[in-house]
């Protein structure tokens, strides 16, 4: 068996065993393809994403874990480091700073941390980045909260 498959299966088992371990992350593997995963993460509290549930899509390369998984937001999100249209994420550990010791679960945790601590200096979403860089925290938060309500919260009624 390829090392990537063996390792992904170990991660799958770990996720199944420790479902309750991290209530903010729900990782699901596509049972017909172990290289495709989905995750639901809760927006961190005291951020404009609080109360929202965001869906992530993982595409794992054959060389995993020597190469990082590709992750993007399926749920629309207004965040300086997430591409507004494609959901692409700008996060160092998914690029140069990748280490094979990361798991899909810990990548989810890193993404939650990124949601709470946006990096306005390396924006994929320039509108969001500019709001933050110009010091308009309220403007950024209002936009982010609006999109959280629109896209990441279950519709009521």
């Amino acid at each position: 068996m390829q090392p990537s498959r063996a390792r992904l299966f170990k991660e799958y088992k770990e996720v199944q065993k420790e479902k309750a371990a991290d209530p903010d992350i729900q990782l699901v593997c596509d049972e017909s393809n172990i290289f495709k995963w989905n995750a639901l993460i809760k927006g961190p509290s005291e951020t404009p994403y609080e109360g929202g549930v965001f869906q992530l899509a993982f595409s794992v390369p054959e060389q995993y874990p020597l190469q990082p998984p590709q992750v993007r937001f399926l749920t629309k999100i207004f965040h300086p480091n997430v591409h507004f249209k494609t959901g692409e994420i700008c996060l160092d550990i998914l690029k140069n700073a990748w280490s094979p010791a990361w798991t899909l679960q810990s990548v989810c945790r890193a993404i939650i941390a990124l949601m709470a601590h946006p990096e306005a200096d390396s924006p994929l979403n320039c509108d969001s980045g500019n709001l933050l860089r110009s010091g308009d925290i309220r403007g950024y938060q209002a936009m982010a909260r609006m999109y959280t309500r629109l896209a990441a919260m279950p519709k009521k009624g």
Binding site: R7, K10, S99
Partner: protein, 274 residues
Amino acid sequence: MELSAASQGTNPCPICLGPIVQESYLDTCFHKFCYNCIVQWTKVVASKQSLLPSSVKCPLCKRENYSLIRGFDGTSFERLYVNQNFGNGFFLTKAHKCRLQCYHTEPGIANAAFDVSRYWKSRKYLQSNQWLQSWLKREIQALAQDEDIEIIVHHILGVFDCFLRRNEQKHVKTPEIIREEFKALVSDAARPFIAARTNHFVDEMELFLASGLTIEAYDQVYAEYLGWNNSSASNIAAAVERSNENTPVAEGSNESTTIIPDLSIFYEYYIGSD
């Protein structure tokens, strides 16, 4: 085995998440990985740079490490430098390590298991030993910590064959003289390659030849004498003892190995009956 399995259960390799295979440590942070996993990762890191890097960041703690330590057997270990691309990666198997362990114990610990003097007196060396080549290969690999030692094995085998052919005629020399000749020839052949361990190696080779056992059986008897596995090998050791008891001369020759210069005619009876 039980011990390592238990520790691996709680501490899997951070890269493959499986039990650690060929435990290897980074030299600064001493984080532990499978040998293959950390080498693969280092190659990935190196492939992203134009020059061969001299260090690799630990996947766990990001500290810079310059070498990899592996194969610690309680006495010695191997160190592989990142900037030397980890050499060609020969790894000592468990059997190799067991043999090395024998060299870290006092010589002659397993002598009681096999009747060396009988081997010389009854001229058992004239029977070819089909396992000698494989045994030599493993032994030299362990001692030289190198996989590619075929030529050394060939050399030693050649010297040994030469020695046998010269001693095919009977009653010319005493067993003691033949034995000394064997020791001198083999140590001359082996010394350039294994240096300080040569004398011990010659004793080990003599012991293996005298045992007349397959490699597996020999290892088990040896392990028994070193007290490694007290239960599993006991029947084999018992079998060896029984076979020794079948030779009435064994007791006498054990006590006084230097007397009676030539009883080979008498001993030949036992070669025939074997």
